[in-house]
Symmetry: C2
Amino acid sequence: MPRPSVREQLVDAAMECFHQRGFNGTGIQDIARTAGVPKGSVYNHFENKEALAAEVMDRYAVSRKLEMLQDEGLAPVPRLRAHFQYLAADLERFSYERGCMFGNFGTELSNQSDMMRGEVDSRLDLWTSAVTEVLDQAREAGTLTTPLTPGQLGRFLVNAWEGAVLRAKVTRNRAPLDGFFDVFDSLLA
Amino acid sequence: MPRPSVREQLVDAAMECFHQRGFNGTGIQDIARTAGVPKGSVYNHFENKEALAAEVMDRYAVSRKLEMLQDEGLAPVPRLRAHFQYLAADLERFSYERGCMFGNFGTELSNQSDMMRGEVDSRLDLWTSAVTEVLDQAREAGTLTTPLTPGQLGRFLVNAWEGAVLRAKVTRNRAPLDGFFDVFDSLLA
DNA sequence: ACCGTCAAGACGACCGTTCATATTCTCGGG
DNA sequence: CCCGAGAATATGAACGGTCGTCTTGACGGT
């Protein structure tokens, strides 16, 4: 059984490198150097670069804290807003440079790896379903006034968020996220 | 003066390669092979890989046909919708695999090249302004009912479009674009 | 002959992965 | 407890290749 800490070091390092440089812009040597372990060790823990990226993305998914969307101590719409605010705060920690890993990998890897595209697709689907579930609750509670269905809204909001995050990555400020919240409030207030 | 057709061949080839594989996933050899010219010739026409990418992005920007947004033969909201429909038809030609080059390069290059990030930023800004101008006209014509300002709407729509296009790249179908139009119609009808 | 253009191969570096060797761990026997 | 053997794990260099860019010589036009 390999020492767990090397594997963790690699995942942490890869998280940072993939966010900073993307998948193809990151070399295994970059990850190894950042983790402070020899390059060959990467292959003791991961079959290949993609397997490492998939692990990193799983870790990223956990950090999105989708369980927040099930916290019934908060009403549906404020709960949903808190979720996006949480994501916005995370982006701010890195000066908006990181974007969203789902979007980043989706952009970069969809034509390169069917496995990774499928992973991104699944993750975005899970997220969309969780958001839609909250909107279903809002509709049942009678607080949704828009004629759009919870499904339409849920799908749209996740995509619009990805677009706003991408724009924030380009502008390196929060204006696109603020713009998202303006429309969020308009649609859901 | 070098023959323009080699340069054009390179730009066309790079357009295809960058769309298919992204910037870092595309090698100069890929572009040269696709163009049917020798690798060394690339540097007769472009200072480096980035300069080629910038030229390709300029070409891409022209193909977005923003001038459609100034066609006063059509009312503002139908004109704007036609613009996005035009973009959607272009995506369909490539089975939604290409995404939007602004978004793709923004994602991949924002942390790698300040020059390219600035180019993407400028392009997205121009587009946003053009969209906002149409919405200003719609507001003046009294056909905008949403309390959101033309500026808020313009910024949001461009970002939401980018997010929808990215999602379509992952799902490889038009559902995310259809979802965009549902909300577009809800906000602007 | 001179100049500008082009192309092919070289340059110095990096790529992801493998593999032979070194190191560490585990287990059983004395 | 100690030791040795074997298994498991780690390491660093090599592998076979690609990368973006540069350089030099060939070629054609004037």
